[in-house]
Amino acid sequence: MNLPTREQAGVLIVSVSGRIDHIASEEFTRALEPLLAGCVKGKAALLLDFSAVDYISSAGLRVLMMASRRAKAQQGTFAIAALQPLVQEVFAISRFNLIVPCYASVDAACKVVGA
C-alpha cells in the first residue's frame, strides 16, 4: 500500500486512499509501521488524511485503534482527518469516533495538533 506523505504546519500528513477492507488492512498495518515508529514525543504529529478513503471495515478500524494506542504509548500525537460522509458514519456507528481523534479537515486538524 502506497502512503504518500507531506508536511504542513509541522504535521506529517499521510494520504490514505481506496478501500481498507479485511484484505487491505494487513497491508495497511505494514505500511503504517515505519510512520508510527517516528510518532514519538517531540516529533511531528502523524495525521492520516482520509479524504480519499471510501470504505473501511472492522479490521481496518482495528488498525487505527492499534496505531492510536501505540502513538499514545510513545507520547506521540496521532489523528485522522477529512473523513468522507459515509466513512464518518461507519466511525460513528462503530463508536470509533470516541476512541480515535477525528477532525473535519486537514487544516482543522493541523491547527490543533500542529507545532
Binding site: H22, I23, S25, E26, Y55, S57, S58, A59, L61, R62, M65, R69, L86, E89, V90, A92, I93, S94, R95, F96, L98, I99
Partner: protein, 320 residues
C-alpha cells in the same frame, strides 16, 4: 424448520424494567397521543401499534434461550438461560402433562447465564418427557447437575422426572438429529463456546452467541463466513460496540453489530438477528442500535442482495 422463537435475548445477566422505565414509556405514549380521543379499542390499538418499539414494547430481560421450531415432533432449543422458564411453561400449557415430548437442547457454553433456566424448565420434572442435552464441553453434565445440588438449588437434579441424556458432540462434524443436521463450531470465549449451524432440507439457522472475533485473523474470519454461508437466519452476539470489543472489552468474549453485518454480508446470509443484548442498554439504546445497524448494512451493501436485520426480543417469533 418453520420459525424461530426468542424466549431470552439478554446477555450475561437477566434484567427487568424499573418503575422509572415504565413511567417513561407511559409518559411518552401520552405525549404522543397529545389529547387524542379513542372511540373504540381498535382505534387505541392502532395508535399503540404505530408508536416506536421503545415506547410500546421492550426487548425484555431474560437470558439466552432460543427455540427453533422444526417440521417434526421434537423440540430444538438453544441454551437454557432464564428464558427457558417461560418456554417450559408454554410447552406444558400446549401439550399438557400426559403427552410426552422430546427436547433437544444445545448448550453454547457452561456460563451461568446460559444454564440458569434449566432448573425452572418445567418439562424436566414430568415423567415421560425425554430431554437430550447436546454440547461440546466435556463437563456439560457435571455443570448442569452441579447447579441443582444443595446449597445452590432446593430441588436436587435427582428429582427430575424426565429422562435426561447427554450427547457430547464433535465440533466441525454434522450430527443428524431428528431430521436436522447440526454442526457445532468452536468460538473464542472464556472456557470456549460453540456455535451451532442447523440445516434442514430447505432452511439454515445459525446460533452464534458469546463469540469474540479477532479481526487480525483472516483464517478465523473465513471460517465464520463458511459457518454462516447462505443462512436464512444468523443469531449473532452483538453485545458491544466495535470500539468496545477491540479496546476496553477485548478478550471479554463478545462481538459487535458491525462484525455481524460484515460476516453476514460476506456469507450471503439472508437475515441477521442482533442478540445477547448488553444488560446496561435500555430499550432506547437497543432501538438506536438496530437503526444504526440497518444503516450500516445499507451504506456497505454495494452490489450484494440486501441483508435483513432484526433485533431479537423476548417473545419474538420469526418465520424462516
Amino acid at each position: 424448520m418453520n420459525h424461530v422463537v426468542f424466549w431470552g435475548t439478554r446477555g450475561s445477566l437477566p434484567v427487568s424494567l424499573t418503575h422509572r422505565d415504565i413511567r417513561e414509556k407511559i409518559t411518552a405514549a401520552l405525549l404522543a397521543a397529545n389529547g387524542k380521543a379513542f372511540k373504540t379499542r381498535a382505534q387505541l390499538d392502532e395508535f399503540v401499534d404505530q408508536l416506536p418499539f421503545a415506547i410500546n414494547g421492550t426487548f425484555g430481560g431474560s437470558s439466552s434461550c432460543v427455540e427453533i421450531v422444526g417440521d417434526g415432533p421434537a423440540h430444538f432449543i438453544c441454551d437454557m438461560g432464564s428464558g427457558a422458564r417461560a418456554l417450559g411453561q408454554a410447552k406444558i400449557a400446549k401439550y399438557g402433562v400426559p403427552n410426552p415430548q422430546t427436547y433437544h437442547i444445545f448448550i453454547s457454553h457452561l456460563h451461568w447465564d446460559h444454564l440458569m433456566g434449566f432448573p425452572y424448565f418445567a418439562p424436566m420434572y414430568y415423567p415421560g418427557n425425554r430431554i437430550v442435552v447436546h454440547g461440546c464441553h466435556p463437563h456439560l453434565e457435571e455443570s448442569i447437575r452441579h447447579q441443582m445440588q444443595a446449597p445452590n438449588f432446593p430441588v436436587d437434579y435427582a428429582q427430575a422426572g424426565a429422562r435426561i441424556e447427554f450427547d457430547l458432540m464433535t465440533p466441525g462434524k454434522a450430527h443428524y438429529i431428528s431430521g436436522i443436521n447440526v454442526t457445532p463450531k468452536l468460538q473464542h470465549h472464556a472456557g470456549d463456546s460453540y456455535g451451532y449451524r442447523f440445516e434442514s432440507l430447505d432452511r439454515t439457522v445459525v446460533y452464534s452467541t458469546d463469540s469474540e472475533h479477532k479481526l487480525d485473523n483472516p483464517t478465523e474470519y473465513d471460517a465464520f463466513v463458511r459457518f454462516f454461508a447462505k443462512a436464512d437466519l444468523v443469531i449473532f452476539d452483538a453485545m458491544y460496540s466495535l470500539a468496545e470489543a477491540v479496546s476496553v472489552k477485548a478478550d471479554w468474549g463478545h462481538s459487535s453489530n458491525v462484525v455481524g453485518v460484515e460476516l453476514c454480508q460476506a456469507a450471503a446470509a439472508k437475515r441477521l438477528a442482533l442478540f445477547h443484548h448488553e444488560p446496561m442498554h435500555d430499550d432506547k439504546q437497543l432501538s438506536r442500535l438496530i437503526a444504526e445497524t440497518r444503516r450500516l448494512e445499507q451504506i456497505t451493501r454495494g452490489s450484494r442482495q440486501p441483508l435483513d436485520i432484526i433485533s431479537a426480543y423476548d417473545g419474538l417469533s420469526v418465520a424462516l
